[in-house]
């Protein structure tokens, strides 16, 4: 679903091409901009019509907000931030991290519909190709839905690079970076690699990086192919945020730092010397 601009229709065609049984499309000028009350009304209408047993959302900002409210309206069950789904003797079992990632829980639903959010990038996208499903347009009268909140001010940073949640590569700095200037060095490397910039809570609390950059259980949950941790010790709440990263590389002076229990490659040296040299070498090799 989405505004009248055609982006939603394009997303619908893409979904139809990836093995869906049916695709419902809601297009309305009322959905031009994300507003929870209206999006919720639209998704509720579609779900009541399609009658699914399981409703999945990506666990991004929108899914995290809509899924609980939809589950309440549908009288269903709810499980959030799943990293695994399997069928087990007729019931669907979801795996999700708890206690800041220190433990995993397996949860099954006692009643339907089962609404769940799925951690972004944990699952590979369904392949495209094959028989395309029908795209069914659904009319939803959204004019009567009161938008009970409204955005009165918006400040978008003119920021290059991908968002943390969608990034395939992340360069992230922690307390060991030592100050805001150090993040300039990280930015150079991130720019070269097309990476998003991240930070540990220690760096955010110190005021060296904005809260929006924070990676960890209390910040962004990320799942990049490559996570480069610079001066990050590896507190458990930070590791919880990168548990789905495919490869972790760490640069930290302290060879005993817990980050090395999670990283597969490490350099126990001063990042101020290693990172500029690493950036230079990679630039040469990538011919950028």
């Amino acid at each position: 679903m989405g505004g009248a601009g055609g982006a939603a229709a394009e997303a619908a065609r893409d979904a139809a091409d990836r093995g869906s049984g049916a695709v419902y499309l809601v297009e309305s000028p009322a959905l031009d901009e994300y507003q929870a009350d209206r999006y919720l009304a639209a998704v509720e209408v579609v779900c009541r019509r399609a009658g699914p047993d399981v409703i999945l959302f990506g666990a991004g900002d929108v899914g995290r907000e809509l899924a609980p409210r939809l589950a309440h309206r549908l009288g269903g069950a709810l499980v959030t931030d799943c990293v695994g789904i399997r069928a087990d003797g007729g019931e669907i079992v979801f795996t999700r991290p708890v206690y800041g990632g220190k433990a995993m829980a397996e949860v099954a639903a006692g009643r339907g519909p089962f609404v769940a959010t799925v951690r972004p990038r944990v699952f590979d996208p369904a392949p495209s190709g094959g028989a395309a499903a029908e795209v069914v347009p659904v009319e939803v009268a959204l004019d009567g839905v009161a938008a009970r909140t409204r955005v009165v001010e918006r400040q978008a940073e003119d920021k290059a690079g991908p968002s943390l949640e969608e990034a395939r590569v992340i360069v992230s700095g922690g307390r060991g970076v030592g100050g805001p200037e150090g993040f300039g060095m990280l930015e150079e490397l991130a720019g070269l690699l097309g990476a998003a910039l991240g930070a540990s809570r220690a760096a955010v609390d110190a005021g060296w990086a904005p809260a929006a950059w924070q990676v960890g259980q209390t910040g962004k949950i990320v799942a990049p192919d490559l996570y480069i941790a610079i001066g990050i010790s590896g507190a458990s709440q930070h590791l919880a945020g990168i548990s789905a990263a495919k490869h972790v590389v760490a640069v930290n002076k302290d060879p005993e730092a817990p980050i090395y229990k999670r990283a597969e490659l490490g350099v126990a040296a001063d990042y101020r010397q290693v990172v500029p040299a690493l950036t230079r070498k990679l630039r040469e090799r990538l011919a950028r």
């Binding site: 929870a36 907000e65 609980p68 409210r69 589950a71 309440h72 069950a77 709810l78 499980v79 959030t80 931030d81 079992v93 708890v98 990632g101 220190k102 995993m104 829980a105 397996e106 009970r148 909140t149 409204r150 001010e153 918006r154 400040q155 978008a156 940073e157 003119d158 920021k159 290059a160 943390l164 395939r168 805001p180 720019g191 690699l193 955010v204 609390d205 005021g207 060296w208 809260a211 259980q217 209390t218 192919d225 490559l226 507190a235 458990s236 709440q237 495919k246 490869h247 972790v248 590389v249 990283a263 597969e264 490659l265 350099v267 126990a268 040296a269 010397q273 290693v274 040299a277 990679l282």
Partner: protein
Amino acid sequence: MRIVVCVKQVLDPELPQRDFRLDPDGKEAAPGRASRVISTFDEIALEVALQLREKAGGGQVTALTLGGKPAEEALRKALAMTADAAVRVDDDGLGAPGEGLGRLDGFAVAAVLAAAIRRLGGADLVLCGRQAADTDAGQVGLLLAEELGVPTVASAVSGEPAGEAVRLKRETPGGYEVVEARLPALATVTNADVNVPRIPKVKDVMASFKKPLTVWTAADLGVDPAATAPRVALRRLFIPERETACEMVGGDSPEAQAEALAERILALKVLETRGWRHAGAGLRFRPGGGAGQAASGTDRRRPRPGGVPGR
């Protein structure tokens, strides 16, 4: 403005992995030596509420919890942070006793909290942490919003009174937005540099013991315990094995180490072929400025160094 902040008492989430154990039933974390604290984002929600009260030049902040007698410690902490009143709803007999972390689901908690808020005569604004530090689920606040049927703002970091409404600032990817919601409203709260929880002053700790702490049972609120049965079942709880053998890249000099590391990273075959450039030079982030900056003179837990030098 009458603000209710929902708080949950949890085992200290800062407990390191090496000290983390499950209880013998394997249904929840073993307390061990971990202390019990207010869940991280709930404490932040309290801070946002107290700042709002200051900006409004008055009002009442009530801390509300669902839990056993020990949860009153969390309420005392809230009162010491200068909340005006506190309410505990006793959880005895609710949910699925013996199921540990799976005992109460978000729906049950939200229904009980909604009943308590109605019993309080309603609230202009209800604040909840984004997610609890034990279940990490992020459900209760949004389910409570549906129970109460009020305008909802997710992941706010600060608020400003605006007459019959409240303006809440939210961080967005690479920026922020200010959302206005008519009162009564509910917001979930996340962390930012403007809402680091205050450390209670000694005199406020002393004063907290004289503040009202009310205890209600589910029966007092007309909540049927049978209606609090969880809709999901905890099938298994386990501690994942995830120790990676780390290859430490050596070398005689930082240059050599960097070269070896570059080769090993390239061998992972995960790097894209094109990079990006920032539109402008340097970082755009500047701490200490912008709308919604707290102007409270309260002591801060994590004092920060001065601003970022200009460039």
